[in-house]
């Protein structure tokens, strides 16, 4: 049973509902701005020139997006090697190096077959 002295709401129920939903939406939007902003900034910075990235003036989005950084990464043989190592279960890094004989010691195999290919310049240090 309802208590008789419960005060009557000022606005009708639907209006109050819409009002509070609006406030919740605003808070959620502000929160997602906070959550997404660093991600947005990461993407935006990746397209900037060095000057734009380091200047104290805010460049929200570069006037002329520079794909140079991406081009550089995608043509970097070392990066490609590391990326393929990350996604493929068999190590491709080492056509010349393999697990040989004794426990945990890497030794050169007798066939330096792929010595001239660009990618194993990185695996020569072990």
């Amino acid at each position: 049973m309802r208590k008789p002295n419960r005060r009557e709401p000022f606005l009708p129920r639907k209006v109050r509902q819409a009002f509070s939903n609006g406030i919740v939406y605003l808070l959620l939007l502000a929160g997602s701005g906070f959550m997404l902003f660093p991600l947005f900034w990461m993407i935006s910075t990746s397209l900037k020139t060095m000057e734009e990235a380091n200047s104290p003036r805010i460049t929200w989005w570069p006037a002329q997006p520079q794909p140079d950084a991406y081009r550089q990464v995608l043509t970097d043989s070392r990066w490609l090697l590391y990326f393929s190592n990350s996604i493929s279960p068999t190590p491709r890094s080492s056509p010349r190096w393999r697990f040989w004989g004794r426990w945990s010691r890497w030794r050169p195999s007798p066939t330096p077959s792929a010595a001239s290919s660009g990618r194993d310049a990185t695996s020569s240090s072990s």
């Binding site: 919740v24 808070l27 959620l28 906070f34 900034w41 393999r98």
Partner: protein, 380 residues
């Protein structure tokens, strides 16, 4: 040899090993069952169940128990890698707990971040979960947005982005603060107060931590900072730990667990409370909060463990432990002595101290849990 064939042979050998070791484990289990005088059916069942469980058991023994025992042994030795370990008894532990200042600093830093960061994370997660629990249209999109940082949090690329964002001079965060203050000038004194409070508390903490209160005296003597003093984030020893706490709040994944717990609160409790005329505040503190206390407990336990293991933040964000060792954390110092200075025995001892610390804290929490965590099935 052809590398593909080589990989294939290794795979075959692994499978054979797994089958043989499983057979061995299952036979041992069956033998034990026979010694205890069980009948044949029971023995056969024991054999079968242990046979199917033992790939995991063997993997656990090889990859978890084995390294654990090895590190326990190494923690009592002096071990520099090309040389074999030399037994030194308790010397590593004694040195860590009595004379090593850096270890004391890192333990205290870890405790600082846990003590101040975790409540903020819990509060933020709970508020977000309560907002999302309205079941408004678009909830799923918001849920995804709020979970995105968790997947990217301790990622080197993300932390480098945070270095850019938090840069005190031309970082976007401080620039944004300046921009907002240009529009609303009354916020400048608020920022001055926040800066003053953070610097005073951090200087006091640093003083307590190192027994040297010069910095605190300087800060106190300076009084309220001028309006030009901005937060220095990862470049000052007074701001590096707040910066890490800030990133922790940004990337804590506790909201999902709260959201799941909220949907399991029975609605008839709210209906009853509404009939009784309870206000929204009362409904939250008397119904929602007690009913989701298991989620809070879980978040607390997992959060403490995760915060004590912070590593990437001090490695990438503050560039190797930060200004004046202000972001040395236990896990970071452990890594540093083990892999930078090749003191493997010392690092192993540190990891065991960290393990004991986490264990003690978790046990204390489980003890205290009886007082405030409510499980529904206990009623029955």
């Amino acid at each position: 040899m052809n590398p593909k064939l080589y990989t294939f042979l290794w795979a075959v050998a692994t499978v054979v090993f797994i089958i043989l070791s499983s057979l061995a484990v299952a036979s041992v289990a069956k033998l034990i069952a026979r010694w205890r005088g069980k009948n044949r059916t029971y023995q056969a069942r024991t054999f079968a169940s242990y046979f199917f469980a033992s790939p995991w058991i063997v993997g656990y023994i090889i990859f978890v128990i084995g390294p654990t025992l090895a590190s326990l042994y190494w923690s009592f030795t002096r071990f520099k890698l090309p040389d074999p370990p030399v037994w030194v008894g308790l010397q590593n532990y004694i040195q860590l707990l009595t004379t090593d200042d850096q270890f004391r600093v890192s333990i205290l830093n870890s405790i600082y971040v846990t003590l101040f960061g975790l409540p903020l994370q819990l509060a933020m997660a709970l508020v977000l979960a309560l907002l999302l629990y309205r079941r408004l249209p678009g909830e799923q999109a918001f849920r995804m947005i709020y979970y995105l940082p968790v997947m990217l949090a301790a990622n080197a690329a993300m932390l480098i982005t945070w270095r850019l964002v938090l840069n005190p001079n031309n970082g976007i965060l401080n620039t944004l603060i300046r921009m907002i203050e240009d529009i609303f000038p009354f916020l400048v004194p608020v920022r001055q107060g926040v800066v003053w409070f953070t610097e005073i508390t951090n200087a006091a903490f640093l003083g307590l931590q190192r027994g040297d209160f010069n910095l605190l005296q300087q800060i106190v003597a300076r009084g309220l900072p001028g309006p030009e003093v901005m937060p220095l984030w990862h470049q000052s020893q007074l701001w590096s730990k707040p910066a890490i706490i800030f990133i922790g709040v940004w990337s804590c994944g506790m909201m999902m667990i709260y959201l799941a717990a909220l949907s399991s609160v029975p609605p008839h409790l709210y209906e009853a409370a509404l009939v009784d005329g309870a206000s929204g505040w009362q409904r939250f503190w008397r119904i929602t909060f007690p009913m989701i206390s298991p989620a809070t407990f879980y978040n607390l336990v997992v959060g403490i463990i995760a915060t004590l293991q912070i590593f990437e933040q001090s490695y990438v964000l503050t560039d190797n432990g930060g200004p004046a060792q202000s972001t040395y954390f236990v896990a970071y110092y452990l890594w540093r002595s083990t892999f930078r200075f090749n003191k493997i025995g010392y690092g192993a001892a540190m990891s065991w101290i960290l393990l004991v610390l986490i264990l003690v804290l978790t046990l204390i929490q489980f003890r205290l849990a009886n007082r405030w965590v409510y499980y529904e099935y206990e009623e029955a």
